[in-house]
Subunit: 581 residues, 2 copies
Amino acid sequence: MTLEEARLAVAVASGRSPGSLLLRNAQLLNVFTGTIEPTHILVAGRFIAAVGESVADADAAEVIDLGGAHLAPGLIDGHLHIESSLVTPDTYAAAILPRGVTGVVWDPHEIGNVAGVPGIRWVLEQSEGLPLDVWLTVPSCVPSTPLETTGATLGLAEIESLLAHPRVVGVAEIMSFPAVIEGDSENLGKALLAEAYRKSPEGHAPSLSGRDLQTYLATGIASDHESTTLAEGLEKLQSGVFLMVREGSVTRNLEALLPLVEPRHGDRIGFVTDDRLPHDLLDEGGVDFLVRRAIHGGVDPVYAVRCASFNVARHYRLPRRGAIAPGYLADLVVLDDLDTFRAATVYKAGKRVAEGGRLEATPARGPADPAAVTGTVTLPPLTEASFRIGAVGREVRCIRALPDQVLTEELRVEPTVRDGAVVADPERDLLKLACIERHGKTGNVGLGLVTGFGLRAGALAGTVGHDHHNLLAVGVSDRDLLVACRRLEELGGGVVAVADGEVLAELALPLAGLVTAEPLPAVRAKLDALEAAATSLGNRLPSPYMTLSFLGLAVIPELRLTDRGLVDVRRGELVPLATGP
Amino acid sequence: MTLEEARLAVAVASGRSPGSLLLRNAQLLNVFTGTIEPTHILVAGRFIAAVGESVADADAAEVIDLGGAHLAPGLIDGHLHIESSLVTPDTYAAAILPRGVTGVVWDPHEIGNVAGVPGIRWVLEQSEGLPLDVWLTVPSCVPSTPLETTGATLGLAEIESLLAHPRVVGVAEIMSFPAVIEGDSENLGKALLAEAYRKSPEGHAPSLSGRDLQTYLATGIASDHESTTLAEGLEKLQSGVFLMVREGSVTRNLEALLPLVEPRHGDRIGFVTDDRLPHDLLDEGGVDFLVRRAIHGGVDPVYAVRCASFNVARHYRLPRRGAIAPGYLADLVVLDDLDTFRAATVYKAGKRVAEGGRLEATPARGPADPAAVTGTVTLPPLTEASFRIGAVGREVRCIRALPDQVLTEELRVEPTVRDGAVVADPERDLLKLACIERHGKTGNVGLGLVTGFGLRAGALAGTVGHDHHNLLAVGVSDRDLLVACRRLEELGGGVVAVADGEVLAELALPLAGLVTAEPLPAVRAKLDALEAAATSLGNRLPSPYMTLSFLGLAVIPELRLTDRGLVDVRRGELVPLATGP
């Protein structure tokens, strides 16, 4: 709030000047008292000037009678990766604003892995001035492991260089909990840096409990969004964790944790989406989906809203956000109906931005894409021979991809060998998997085998490959793998399906190889075409490209493939394809 | 937390290193869940390393079995003026630590009025390294009005010069609510300064409601501790105010607000003492008194504790304070009994500081007193004639002092005139009142009449005179008034009772003319002697020196006396003694 705005707010509240907007006869969801109050709201520019019976007849440029409609503060998503929706922040904003979401806390972990500090500065630029508040947490684990090549490294100095930014509100989920528990100085240092800037050190502690959990929290790490069971959630809550209840596309925990979402837990619970794939974003929405589901699940509606607004704002100390009261930003959601939690009208900072589910105006894109996030796919010189796996003995490791799971399993199989090389064998659902370093650094090509996809021919490939985002390709023929990689290089990143040397379907993701400036419906259509192409090739997995994108994730068990080769996650080391000598 | 401390905490929590302290078999008051849990607490140096069954048998240098005693986090007083207790912060700490109070948020408003920024820097120095956390809010209203002479002025630049200090957590109670409501840039600027530093703009909005309250809050002012009725408290709570429930010596609001002190209000309520006179501090305690009273009044004990710990810590974002959980500071209170809320043992930052109501060691005093707060009583040259009031007509204004109230009334009386001058008339309980500028600036002497004390002879005087802290003296004879003033100048400030040219009793307050380095029992004994002396002179008021100290307070109705003369508070202007021409 500037001094001019403060003077205006005070003049309007006191009646010396007319307001910009008066919303009469609202049923206000009061997050402070947990009650619903019939009242009136007077707005002065970006801010709420006054609430109450005393402004029922206040003077304002626009007066709207809400006729008893419910009014909620704009929702705030406590933790997400916009990259998961494959779009730029303006597109994300366009999708989410009409649903009543007026703020998000974004951990640009994927862009950080590809493009480092310049990439995150681009994120800050691109999200400046949107009608959606975009707060950032600085990715803390880039790279996630030393067993992979990333486009950038974010050490203590790089993280600190971003922490003073007013929209940076924390250090993002510190995922390397084993290193934290071991007392690794670099990881502890990241948590302490956040504290030194009076910002929040965010956590990521899947399945941690007992002494391990206590040890992780002894550092001061403040939150967690990885609880999957009631017992886990309760233990974290008792231990002082700001419990983020997550309902993403990949992982859905709301139902399990619902009994904890209770007014008696006050400010200790927040709602987050973490990851929302384009389909889910369009069909279900963002953090509004959690509010809706929580209400359906019997949670007090005011408290459900509070978990996705005030509680998140308090956790990160987001200024003047998360409630409807004098001095707060006028982020307001008029609801058609409290049970369905559908937004009829959405105001951001006092301006109507959406009505009946439609935006008033398309959010402006940020400045042109700088070098930081374009041209990020630089492959080594590739030929069909790049995909050749020399014969290596009688037993090899094979990754088993599981339907709709991030976990994988390690199998031991007898390889199919032809002409002295291990080959894909569709009859046995043994496919070739490649992870190709794409940041123009090492030119590494990691090769292995995977089962579970069921492809009979062709190849699927993409430059979204958690967390290093090297190119991951699965396929039957080396030729199609090569074609897929070349096409991705031409596109500057994306996802492709190839067969018989031809591209069947594709989605270009030219920004960091992760996101596109295209609108969501176009993205969805292309993803549908990609799924259809995969199906035509014999795919049996529900989400083959997503599953593929996780096959390189060297922090979740059991067996993974990075550009440096196969990783045994439990042992935390590279292992050869062959199990024998 | 330093990196070394983080490494230690993690090593202890995980069991690789022994802890410094293990408290076994505690009944822990868990402020996060509102429950009481049987558990064990493992401490590593200053911090709690781990809590839970998993550390029941952890290795530690000291192991104490609490045998099921209740364990609460150290209490934190959300707003007070230590000056009201007439002692230095180390003395205050010594009084309050054995009661389980381990932190306070101090608005050094009185010292600020006398000694400005250097005085507040002295406060910061004096409170550094104590076994009590002393957080500061920067006084926002120095001077309180333009109708008085203070020792210093704290403008925007002066306030800003203090805001970056890590123990400064806000801008203190913005008392000039009429100026805020009128949109005065200086006052709005003070609130915005706090926000710019991500610190808290604190409020003071007695009796404000409806549109006035909304206007005041439109600035972003975050708290209030002036509610005296349930309706007032509820309206403020609904309007987003962090509701500080106050139980001071001068003003007591807990009982009226008790119905609001409910777990459903979660983090929205804090406990504060504001002002505690030495007697009350010794007999009742500090913010522990509110917890005790709230529990007696039926408030859930865990929630009562939360209002005086976690909620205050959250409001100001005090790091790692206000709860018992891994990563938090080991500020722990073992209770004899939950109902009486008596502290058996108190730990501050992992060290035992008190046992059975007794300190383990006297807190060290800060560095020697600098010029900023010594020699602060510089009076103009005074003679008996300085107290002469020339005859001014047939009717004059007279202040009526009321028992145990800060409010005064304005009376109109016929003056008693002798030798062409208005004189005190003990028969009619008309006493002479003087307010003498003592900061060595203007040398102003304000003169008037007061009724209510009932003195038959002598004079009472003190250099505690809210908020400007000029010398206030009430008396029968000009000679005794003069003797009292001269003695106060010799003492460098304090409180005296004089009769027949002799000092009957006195308390020296040589630091800023407001506080003493003497211990509280000595202060209490001298105050008792002063009260006895006043009684011997005929005083009828229950707290004559306190009442006297408020007679110069030009912001609370009705009639006051400053060094510039009589102030009609409602009109906000100086008025002459005589009502007629």
